[in-house]
Symmetry: C2
Subunit: 223 residues, 2 copies
């Protein structure tokens, strides 16, 4: 009837053409010195959503991240000391945010670091399972919802957007078809600006038109 209550965070970020996940190095037993998803105990007088934000900040130094609930894990064997229920949350971060300095403000974690998805080590507890489920959810969601924009800075090029799709889906897409499709959606605002500081033809920058975007993808279901 009673259980220890924790939350874990799966934070994705996109840079250098690759999808990354944010991990922390544990400084406490059990699993001392192992890499793990940022996570900790929820206080008794604290809303779960507040706890997630607090814990992510304490573990990594990241603030102002919007997280969605993924799944509740409650297996009796998750933790060596008996059942610990964890609710996993996940979030997608914009490229420029990933430049923010990562530094835990708690001694429970030694450091926080971005890992490319295919270079993630074995993780503490059942965090490998949790991460795996998050990636699956991401792939399912990108097919229906254009979550890709959450991984990019405000102004982005179509090639960057395509790279996000390709890195999440794990396959290459046709450039012409991709552009046609995105522009046809009608929620991209073409800017009068182009990229700067590149050693080749500079690409046009685009912005997400949030009004139109939400109109299309917000499920307005009446009960």
């Amino acid at each position: 009837m009673y259980t220890t209550f924790t939350v874990d965070c799966v934070i994705f970020g996109f840079y250098e053409g690759e999808l990354h996940v944010l991990l922390t190095e544990r400084n406490e037993y059990p699993f001392k010195d192992w890499w793990a998803l940022p996570g900790f105990f929820v206080n008794n007088d604290e809303e779960m959503e507040d706890a997630v934000k607090r814990i992510l900040y304490e573990n990594t130094g990241l603030k102002d991240v919007f997280l969605d609930q993924l799944y509740a894990f409650a297996g009796l064997k998750r933790h060596p000391q008996g059942r610990i229920l964890t609710v996993a949350y996940y979030a997608l971060l914009q490229l420029d945010k990933t430049k923010i300095k990562l530094k835990p403000v708690t001694s429970y974690m030694r450091q926080a670091k971005w890992f490319p998805l295919n270079k993630v080590p074995d993780l503490a507890f059942d965090h490998t399972t949790i991460l795996k489920q998050s990636v699956e959810k991401l792939r399912r969601r990108i097919a229906n919802t254009p979550i890709a924009f959450e991984l990019l800075p405000d102004k982005f090029t179509l090639t960057q957007l395509q790279l996000v799709y390709e890195s999440i889906l794990g396959r290459e897409l046709d450039k012409r078809n991709f552009r046609k499709k995105m522009i046809n959606y009608g929620f991209l605002k073409e800017l009068d600006e182009v990229q700067k500081g590149v050693a080749y033809r500079a690409a046009r920058l685009y912005k997400l038109d949030k009004r139109k975007f939400l109109k299309q993808f917000q499920n307005t279901i009446t009960f």
Copy 2:
């Protein structure tokens, strides 16, 4: 760090052309005499998935139901006596199973009963919210996954199948288009049988070809 741990069940069933949900009448305070989703405390030495099945049985008499996790609710104000974390599960039941006698085997609940979705009363705790979220999930899922079959008996007519879609989506569909689409999917087996005991032309019966069905709709994502 510690919380009371419960599970709630949202059980959908389809009969008489309407989507129904299974509710129980509480026989205990708080919310005595209110209708609520079947749910109760998870034992400390019990896996969550086992607890859901046990509790559903104790509350309603239903057995052998496969439930999927929906969402974890942990608001501090969910329950008058402080935080109670609940993990909500949902399931779809086949028509013939809904004929099973409902009778709670615990004194916590006075009775269990099917309610058509649009005749659900105000529910105990935050169960109205939980139910609402389940229906939304159902609608989202039926667009991508043919979960409708879980609500029908083994052998069904195309009209029955269409009624399931219509009652979940809340709108009418074109008969010819619906049939073409379903038959084109290729996972329906046409049987040599027809309906019996109807006072009009008997409809052909179909069966789900599970092999073909799974091949199409099982996400095979490698990590």
